[in-house]
């Protein structure tokens, strides 16, 4: 494990104090589980409703395009930088490359994360890149690469889907040619109950190991709405094969809802841009 000696490293082998709390994590999860059995969610949402979305583009002035997205308590920042030549490259590539970085801030999760990239971040980074790759007109940047960075400030579940939605907005804000807007949403399944846009606790509950045969797990789908193309699909848990068409349809419907919000944000942006030009 490479360590950076210039940065302060927390002492090794510490245990977060939350494990010693009287009201332990487990009782919190069982509370959520019993509420879900009555089709109620701990934050008062309907099981088929996503959390409120807050979108703001152009937040990083140094980047070509950027977006800040808040979904409930999940908060993240995505920035896109100008196309630049790929360093140390000999061959000519007909399609441009996307260089992605997916990073959790050290304080973003309940347990402190390290500065170095762990395997979860690598996996999320790969999935993130594959989700936005088909949406970008990569033929326009032959032999060039575009840097797309995601920084998660606060993690409260559905991080990857929120990041993909933010990336779509940041690419649009950076005027990178795209085939279509890209949006993503996720589902949690717990004892055959489908939860739209799960929080961190709900995700933990859905992925916890149980003996029974009921469906559980999480599903994430990234979608280009007007082209009707699925750009990324990932699932984890234990699910019956016959349920997949239902999950896919539900996720597509969710994505259409989010797409409307994203589109209206984009239109306001464009109008704002022209207004600021006319006043100049």
């Amino acid at each position: 494990m490479p360590t950076n000696l210039y940065r302060f490293q927390g002492p090794e082998g510490t245990i977060p104090y939350q494990h010693y709390l009287i009201d332990k994590n487990n009782t919190k999860l069982t509370k959520i589980a019993t509420a879900l059995m009555k089709n109620e969610r701990c934050d008062g949402r309907d099981i088929s409703a996503h959390r409120n979305l807050c979108i703001k583009t152009g937040i990083v002035t140094q980047a070509k395009g950027s977006a800040y997205v808040e979904k409930g308590h999940t908060k993240l920042l995505c920035s896109v930088f100008d196309p630049k030549e790929v360093p140390n490259k000999v061959e000519y590539a007909k399609t441009g490359e996307l260089q992605c970085e997916f990073k959790f801030a050290t304080f973003s999760c309940r347990q402190r994360r390290n500065y170095t990239r762990d395997s979860e971040e690598r996996q999320l980074c790969n999935e993130f890149r594959r989700a936005i790759e088909p949406a970008v007109c990569r033929g326009e940047f032959a032999n060039f690469e575009i840097q797309v960075n995601v920084l998660v400030l606060e993690n409260d579940g559905s991080v990857l889907s929120t990041a993909i939605t933010a990336a779509g907005l940041a690419l649009m804000d950076g005027c990178i040619p795209m085939y279509d807007m890209i949006v993503a949403s996720s589902l949690g399944i717990f004892k055959n109950t489908i939860l739209v846009d799960p929080t961190y606790d709900e995700e933990t509950l859905c992925l916890s190991w149980t003996e029974d045969e009921e469906n559980r797990g999480t599903v994430m789908l990234a979608y280009m709405v007007s082209l009707e193309q699925i750009t990324e699909f990932s699932q984890n848990g234990s699910m019956d094969i016959n349920m997949f068409p239902e999950y896919v349809q539900l996720l597509i419907d969710q994505n259409c809802k989010i797409n409307k919000l994203v589109q209206s944000a984009a239109i306001t942006d464009v109008i704002g841009h022209f207004e600021s030009q006319t006043t100049d």
Binding site: W209, F233, S234
Partner: protein, 289 residues
């Protein structure tokens, strides 16, 4: 991933072949290449398996060690996957070349196994000690479809793994001393028959093919990897490649992937059972075949 490069003519040949349901090596779209499996071939490991899927050659070894469980899961053991892409497989793996593929393989393997594998079986003393399994995957030769080959070999190696029996424990205040049987045959087999295998389906043209070769992987627009348990449940799905899918195609691919997965699990199960029953006078091949 490899040094194979195809010209337009070759690509068209492969794509047209897939359309006619007759691939370059004579298979139909849903067929697998021949598989060879040998178990228990590394004597220093607690369980091992070597799998050859046409030209893909995978060696998986499982070592067990004693560790303390994580404070949040005091009753669970640990399992760790490590994939090493040997530079012997293809020269592109040299140095740090295979690192990304290796990280992706090991992460996806642990994601696929985690919802199915009951880690509480690895507990020795709750909150004090547990077994830790190190699953080391070595890619010796790369002939396409690494995900499927690695998962089959990993499942076989885990089925072949046996944990040493614990004869006694001594408590000394808070410390616990374990006494482990020193007889190498006094072991308890690890039950890993429920583990999933991965099935990759590569989309070429309007069709999709199972068990793609390297050449087919280059022609394909995208690839879906599905992890299927013996009961036909899906435990993880991953998309590879830069393509995108129509919703109907995706559903169709997942559906047929699970059917193939059940058959593949059954074939592996039969092979493992046959291997275990003929344990006494088993013919060994090792690496010479």
């Amino acid at each position: 991933m490899s040094l194979v490069s195809l010209n337009e003519g070759e690509k068209v040949y492969i794509i047209h072949g897939v359309e006619e349901n007759f691939r370059c090596d004579g298979r139909s779209r849903q067929d697998y290449r021949p598989l060879e499996l040998e178990m228990d071939i590394v004597s220093n490991a607690n369980g091992s398996a070597r799998l050859r899927l046409a030209n893909s050659d995978i060696l998986v070894c499982v070592k067990v060690e004693i560790d303390t469980p994580l404070p949040e899961t005091p009753n669970d053991g640990k399992i760790e996957y490590f994939v090493d892409c040997s530079a012997n497989a293809t020269p592109t793996f040299e140095g740090r070349g295979g690192e990304q593929l290796a990280a992706e393989l090991s992460r996806f393997l642990s994601l696929a196994h985690c919802p199915v594998f009951n880690l509480s079986k690895l507990c020795i003393v709750s909150g004090q000690s547990c077994w830790k399994l190190f699953v080391d995957v070595l890619i010796l030769e790369c002939g396409g479809n690494l995900f499927d080959a690695v998962s089959l070999a990993a499942k076989a190696a885990l089925c072949n793994t046996s944990l040493p029996n614990i004869v006694g424990t001594y408590e000394d205040g808070k410390n616990i001393d374990l006494q482990i049987s020193d007889d190498p045959f006094d072991t308890k087999p690890l039950d890993a028959r429920d583990l999933p295998v991965l099935v990759s389906l590569c989309k070429i043209g309007n069709n999709y093919v199972a068990d793609p070769t390297i050449e087919e992987e280059i022609c394909g627009a995208g690839c879906i990897v599905i992890s299927v348990t013996p009961k036909g449940k899906v435990s993880a799905v991953l998309k590879k490649g830069a393509g995108s899918f129509m919703p109907d195609t995706l559903n169709e691919i997942i559906m047929s992937g699970s059917q193939i997965g059940v058959l593949l699990n059954k074939a592996l199960e039969e092979t493992i059972t046959k291997d275990m029953s003929s344990n006494v006078c088993k013919q060994r091949f090792g690496f010479l075949k």
